[in-house]
Amino acid sequence: MKTVLYGLMAASMFASSTATPVEAGSEDVVVEDAWARASIGVNRPGVAYMTIRNTGDEAVILTGLRTDLAMMPDIHQTSTNADGVSSMAPAGEIEIAPGESVSLEPGGLHAMLMRLQRPMAKGESFSLTLDFSDGGEIVVEVPILGIAARGPES
């Protein structure tokens, strides 16, 4: 399954309701190859992956995630130390330089979907909103693949 998802550009409601100036930036962000793993029930955290590309000429900063699927979505970083021990921790804000892209992929950065509100069923999809520091947002429709999926095409 070849999926290329375009971020749906949404003029930010936040931006218009606060004093934060809207600058060019997040409009130039494109999200590709988004996918998620199905969950077993709602007790285990879900996970989603994607590539976030900044096609513009200024840096953008991804500040957070929102979705009605999970009460606590957050970007996490998995790291494996020299002893082979893996751990994960919140990644904080993620800056994407002009022309660069950041990959959320197994074993690295991931969208961690804590407190699932419903099971993630294979074959369905959910929408995930990416918030940027300029007040812009991108809504991505993320297809849910099997638990054993390894990438956007499997």
């Binding site: 606590m72 082979g84 921790a89």
Partner: protein, 210 residues
């Protein structure tokens, strides 16, 4: 509340979480943990632990002697590393096909509190049918990890839940139960499959024990 003050609170919250994670890491896996780094797993014949497989059978290291084995540690509430390792292993087994038939492939949980026999059964069912899931009392998991020189620790997360840090390498043993080698997390498939093949074909120097 203005957006700015919301952000301020969010930052304070993130800082608190990071601190908690760092403290947890220090205690369980960091310099505060017993030194085990760089050690190889002992032979399966030297290990001692009693666990239960995902079908409710009592199992121990002796079940892994007689055929080559592939063992790794993880937990089913692990969103990223563990399903990735399980699907990697499933892919390696598919690549090896008949060659890997009879190989013991075992996933030992480091989170027995949540990973009951039933939880393990449901979880391993999504991956290659050769993969077995073992769980048991915390002390027995600790004894198993000790033998494999695997490390793990519990770390609190946002919202009062917890996650587990754990050794993500896959351990390979020959049919005699002697440690062969390990496959590190992130190791490309073109290295992993030959390593498994080596454990499968390793000259055992005598007849199999089963």
């Amino acid at each position: 509340m203005t957006r700015r003050s919301i952000l301020k609170y969010a930052f304070a919250g993130i800082a608190a979480i990071v601190l908690t994670l760092v403290v947890g890491w220090w205690q369980v896996d960091g310099p505060g943990a017993p030194e085990q780094a760089g050690l190889r797993p002992v032979a399966l014949s030297e290990m001692e632990f009693r666990l239960t497989d995902h079908e409710g059978n009592e199992v121990g290291p002796e079940n892994l002697i007689g055929s080559p084995s592939m063992v790794f540690f993880g937990f089913t509430y692990c969103p990223d590393v563990c399903p990735t390792t399980l699907s990697d292993i499933s892919g390696w087994l598919d690549d090896l096909g008949e060659e890997a038939e009879g190989m013991n492939v075992v996933f030992i949980t480091v989170d027995p509190e949540r990973d009951t026999v039933e939880a393990m059964a449901e979880y391993v069912g999504y991956f290659h049918p050769s993969i077995r899931g073992w769980t048991g009392p915390e002390e027995e998991i600790a004894r198993a990890a000790q033998g494999f020189r695997a490390r793990y620790g519990r770390v609190p997360t946002e919202g009062g839940d917890y996650t587990m840090n754990h050794t993500a390498s896959v351990f390979l043993f020959d049919a005699k139960g002697r440690f062969s080698t390990m496959i590190d997390y992130h190791e490309p498939r073109e290295f992993a499959v030959p390593k498994i093949r080596r454990a499968l074909n390793r000259e055992t120097g005598g007849q199999h024990e089963n």
